[in-house]
Amino acid sequence: MRRYLEFMGNIGLFALRAVRRVLVPPFEFEMILRQIEAAGWKSLPLVLSSGFALGLVLALHTRTTLVQFGAEAKMPEVQSLAFFNEIGPLLAGLLMAGRVGAGIGAELANMRATEQIDAIEVLSIDSFKMLVIPRIIACSIALPILTVFMDVMGLAGGYLAERATSDLSVQLYISRAFHDVSWAAFVPPTLKTAIFGAVIGLISSYLGYTTDEGAEGVGRAATNSVVISSLAIILIDVILVKTIFFLFPETAI
């Protein structure tokens, strides 16, 4: 329990340091773009394929249930609400925690173990600002964009499943998918992933940047980054969903 509280306290202090440093120039635009490429662009194939496959599988399962109630016409809407509200944001977050979180944890831990972070410091450069801040910002920018791609591919997978069993046209599928979907059902859940991204960047950076266990610490930082980031975004999701329901009551069905 004490170790857990200590970890939470250290993460909190690390986050505070990040908030303070983010407002101080230089603003690291080049490093942020590099990290957006690493966290976002390079995650795109994984997100696209996962979104498509999950959309397909979800539609196959959902359709069976909807048919029993004679509501198969609602399938596109169920698909879009499921992806926009929860599956897209959460799955994109978990995929990023797995791919990017592990990468950040391992990369920074390796830099610590091989004295690269010390080398940055002795060159009179603030290593925290150069390495940690861009990763947190890049994750919080990249994840909402990846979530939109995940949503689109989920709908595409759903359409393929629908198409296999009916003659539904693309236009009608899209029309039904967006028929009763308000902006409030799409924008807040997508934007909440910016918080997921920041949490992934923060936790992974903390675990990598502060490790002092040499080569052994690299593997541990990578594993812990995935486990703790994933757990954190699931827990934070509960709070954010309740917050969204509170702020946009029409989204709470």
């Binding site: 230089p26 990369e107 390796n110 830099m111 091989t114 004295e115 690269q116 010390d118 080398a119 940055i120 410091e121 002795v122 060159l123 009179s124 450069i125 603030d126 150069m130």
Partner: protein, 249 residues
């Protein structure tokens, strides 16, 4: 010797422990401006810790550390950053940034520190420094493509980017064959002769200490047990010191 100038580096009764184990115990020494001071000793005796203390990467448990006029113990980040602008550091592994090309390893820090300088000027400095260490045609290579000796030379080129008055060097020839080690030593000697750079060189290679160092300090179990020229150390009372010195012959 120094004509009234303050020492380039001075340790005053510095102690440092890790996990209850004393790595440095009341260590005191001075390095005069322009001097090459070698710290000699077996592995794990606190040599690298001494260098990291000298550049503020680690803070001591007790004592004072002066770099030129400034006591860096307890100094804030801004003060340390200014001090580090005058001090270069060559890491044992080279510590090149994996994700940058060799050229960018030298250019990126300079661009960040001298953002207002024209790119052409920075490019010229980078190319000159790479040429100086014999890596002028290797700028596009990534660190993973470089041999151990090339990494050390690249690390040296980067350490010299800000034209430091003091150079701290951690085990410059460890893991290198005798010929490559000689080339690295030649480079260090050339830099010292050209720029009159103060050097603190940590090594376990007695021949290197003999070749480069004006004075040599011997660290053993966290204690500085002898300081002097190699000739003086050859007549030291400690059998360990005499044994280390005799390796150079």
């Amino acid at each position: 010797m120094n004509g009234g100038n303050p020492p380039a580096i001075a340790f005053r009764e510095v102690s440092r422990s890790f996990g209850g184990r004393a790595v440095l115990n009341n260590v005191s020494f001075e390095v005069e401006p322009g001097e090459a001071f070698c710290l000699l000793g077996r592995s794990g005796m606190g040599k690298s810790v001494t260098l990291k203390l000298a550049i503020g990467l680690i803070q001591p448990d007790a004592g004072a550390i002066y770099v030129e006029d400034d006591n860096i113990v307890g100094m804030d980040e801004d003060g340390l950053s200014k001090m580090r602008g005058r001090v270069g550091f060559l890491f044992q592994s080279g510590a090149l940034f994996d994700s940058f090309s060799l050229h960018d390893n030298l250019a990126v820090p300079l661009k960040r520190l001298w953002g207002q300088k024209p790119d052409e000027e920075i490019e010229s400095i980078v190319q000159n420094n790479l040429d100086d260490v014999g890596l002028g045609k290797e700028g596009r290579k990534m660190p993973a493509e470089l041999s151990g000796g090339m990494r050390k030379r690249a690390g040296l080129a980067r350490a010299l980017m800000l034209s430091p008055s003091i150079l701290l060097v951690d085990e410059p020839v460890s893991g290198l064959d005798r010929v490559t080690a000689g080339e690295i030593d030649d480079l260090l000697l050339r830099v010292r002769k050209r720029d009159n750079t103060t050097m603190v060189i940590v090594t376990h290679d007695t021949r290197e200490a003999h070749r480069i160092g004006d004075r040599v300090g011997v660290l053993d179990n966290g204690n500085l047990i002898a300081v002097g020229s190699m000739d003086e150390l050859a007549e030291n009372q400690s059998a360990l010191v005499r044994a280390l010195v005799s390796e150079a012959e």
